[in-house]
Amino acid sequence: MRAVVNKIIPFSAVDGPGNRTAVFLQGCNIDCKYCHNPETRGMCIHCGMCVEQCPVKALTMKDGKVSYNEEKCIHCDTCIHICNYDSSPKTMEMTPEEVFEKVKKQMPFIRGITVSGGECTLQPEFLEELFRLCKSVGLMTFIDTNGTNDFRKLDDLLGVTDGVMLDIKAYELEEHEVVTSASNELVLKNAEYLASIGKLYEVRTVVVPELFDAHDTVLKTTKLLKPYLAISDIGYKIIAYRPNGVRKQYAHYTVPNQEYLQGLEKIVREEGFEKVIIL
């Protein structure tokens, strides 16, 4: 069993509680306009376009496939910027065991791992196996997801998952479709389900004033989840849209100001949430 891994960040301070190794799987099933790492969305089709453009010749074609030489790479990201398929030539096909080996290197400095993407739940068996390995050495396991896959059907995976960080990109269906070109019917069901079993660690909303009514989303989301605060202390992360890394055609949105974000924070706190973070 293999998954395409975009990258592994050994120490991450921003992917869940404490110090964690963050694993980013390649491939996503929705299309958020503000996606900050669009190079994780698609699979490489080995067209070779990036090979020609690489300024240090870290990329070559071998047997019809793009080959990446990490030692030569200067991390200028030219390959990522020119890719027409929202992909990256630096991805690696790895087994759960291979990823686990890379994670283990950080022990005992980390308390766990977080798998993100792309959308990592598109490969639930891989996740389950990786988490099983991590659990065997006492590491906490977290999923970072867009919530478009039905968690009620992923009991085995949830059995080895300590927490889920779930994006609520917009509460109203029409707005969610504007932001992501996808429905959020399952997202909201997942939010409630995960909260009801005490595994919803955090929900997050990226605030883009032009795209949807963040006030409405934050208010409705907190009202939806409020009954479950008694089960576990659900966090709410309010993230300001930033143009860094966003695809050119979507890099023109307004960055919300602090005052607006603090207004959102106030709503969340008033509904009884204690862990609220503005990023």
Binding site: P10, F11, A13, G18, F109, I277
Partner: protein
């Protein structure tokens, strides 16, 4: 006492006049400098043959450095008084009874500090403040206690003019410890330096997290691996000065350092370094330290006449010598280059292995060198990774990876530190500026501390990358004060000038942010 030349006398006189006229030194700094000039006219030690050649060379050739301790040591370099005894009994010499409440305790401590000498003329150890003050906390309202602690810490910052002055807290949580952290996070001062003795399972997470919060704001406390220090010292230990692990109610007579990069320059190859050059220099430095200690113990009269010794606040047999070294990275890189072998300290396994081999040689030498007055450390000196001084050019502190060459990933950096921290019971440490996002997840740092200490790292410091107070090498300085000094204004604390030197020559502001 031996004669010195008129040429030397005149040189010192010129230096004295320069000090008198200095536009940037404060009065206290001038007085201290004048004393050092006077001391340089003395000549009382029997110096080992070959020492001067190794010590008085230019910066790029000098192999031994005695860190300006002076020619006739009139007091030990670092003194660690038994403040608990003072709290229990007061002091005859200072005409003070034991304090009976928090106000008296704080006031008496400030008086005591004034009378603790050191190489800097300021105390390098201010006590385990949480333990000292905790007995008085129950009789005072929290807000009143906080106000008193605030005034106490402000007075230290403005009168103990040197950020080597080091206080300790932990490993247990106390009311006093929590309040001290709270006040320091608000004051953001350079003095005192502060260490939290940390032990997983003993130090509660919320106390450690409060310390991390304070550290991100004010570059302190640093975190000491309590279990490790405790297992190595046969008496209770403290962290003093930069990060020096020393015996309680004792201290260190002297600290000299091997400048390993320059010793490597003398060597033909690795074999010559290991078999001839390093042993030659170590032998001379150890004998020089023996000589300094002998004078201090047998002739200076310090241990017979100073009230600290007379009243039992310090014990002569709890002092040791600190066998210091700097520039392991420089040394390894120079030797590999001489051999034409590829490899860089901090990055390549062969380079890191060579570093360990060199450390083993130094340890082995030290384990076999005996000094009759170092009873507290079984007759040996304690090894110390010295952090550098402002005059150092191209000298990497201790066993650190040079600034600008840090591994891309923090995990790789820590795994290098992991190989060297064990060698230094009298102190070593690594410093990490941290990105401001960590403010929202201080557990990130706590996890690193826990992992590091499980892995036998000894001592870690963190500060937020944009903090005004920053850790230079082991001591703390405010960027705003360095800016003042650079524009020619007087500044209060001695360490600001040291910091400015280190920023200019040591690239301290360019450390990799984690």
């Amino acid at each position: 006492m031996k004669d010195i030349s008129m040429e030397k006398v005149n040189q010192v006189r010129n230096n004295m006049l320069e000090t008198v006229k200095s536009p940037t030194l404060t009065h206290e700094q001038k007085v201290a400098a004048m004393a050092n000039h006077a001391d340089s006219l003395l000549n009382v030690l029997d110096l080992p043959e070959g020492l001067l050649e190794l010590m008085e060379d230019t910066a790029d050739g000098k192999c031994i450095c005695d860190l300006n301790e002076g020619h006739a040591p009139l007091r030990p370099r670092y003194i660690v008084p038994d403040y608990e005894k003072f709290m229990r009994e007061g002091s005859k010499f200072l005409q003070l009874d034991a304090p009976t409440d928090l106000q008296e305790a704080l006031s008496y401590l400030l008086i005591f500090y004034k009378h603790v000498p050191s190489v800097t003329n300021y105390p390098v150890y201010l006590g385990q403040l949480d333990h000292l003050l905790e007995p008085f906390m129950k009789d005072v309202k929290e807000e009143d206690a906080k106000k008193l602690l605030r005034l106490f810490l402000i007075q230290i910052d403005r009168t103990v003019l040197d950020s080597f002055a080091h206080a300790n807290i932990g490993p247990e949580a106390t009311v006093a410890g929590r309040l001290l952290l709270e006040v320091e996070a608000e004051l953001k001062q350079a003095v005192p330096n502060l260490t939290m003795k940390y032990e997983e399972g003993v130090t509660p997470d919320d106390f450690a997290l409060q310390a991390i919060h304070t550290a991100l704001k004010s570059a302190k406390p640093s975190f000491a691996n309590h279990k490790m220090f405790e297992s190595e010292h046969k008496t209770p230990y403290v962290i003093a000065s930069c990060y020096n692990g020393l015996a309680y109610a004792g201290g260190a007579y002297t600290l000299s350092r091997l400048i390993l990069g320059n010793i490597a320059k003398r060597a033909k190859d690795i074999k010559d370094f290991k078999e001839n050059q390093l042993p030659y220099v170590m032998d001379i430095m150890a004998r020089y330290m023996d000589e300094r200690i002998k004078f201090m113990v047998e002739e200076s009269g310090f241990f017979e006449n100073n009230f600290l010794a007379k009243e039992g606040f310090i014990h002569r047999d709890r002092f040791t010598g600190m066998f210091g070294m700097v520039g392991l990275a420089d040394c390894v890189n120079i030797l590999l280059e001489k051999e034409g072998i590829k490899g860089r300290f901090g990055h390549d396994e062969n380079a890191n292995d060579l570093g360990v081999e060199i450390m083993e040689l130094i340890k082995n030498f030290n384990d076999n060198h005996m000094n009759p007055y170092c009873e507290v450390s079984e007759g040996h000196f304690l090894m110390h990774a010295q952090v550098g001084i402002s005059e150092d050019i191209d000298v990497t502190p201790g066993t650190r990876i040079p600034i600008g060459e840090e591994p891309e990933e923090l995990i790789d950096h820590l795994m290098v530190c992991n190989r060297y921290h064990q060698y230094f019971p009298s102190g070593t440490g690594d410093i990490f500026p941290i990105d401001s996002t960590v403010n929202r997840n201080p557990d990130f740092i706590l996890d690193i501390i826990k992992g590091a200490f499980r892995n036998k790292l000894r001592y870690l410091s963190f500060y937020e990358k944009d903090s005004d107070v920053i850790r230079i090498s082991g001591y703390l300085v405010k960027r705003s004060e360095m800016n003042k000094l650079e524009s020619g204004e007087n500044v209060l604390q001695d360490t600001t000038a040291l910091g400015l030197g280190a920023v200019k020559t040591g690239h301290v502001l360019e450390r990799k942010v984690r």
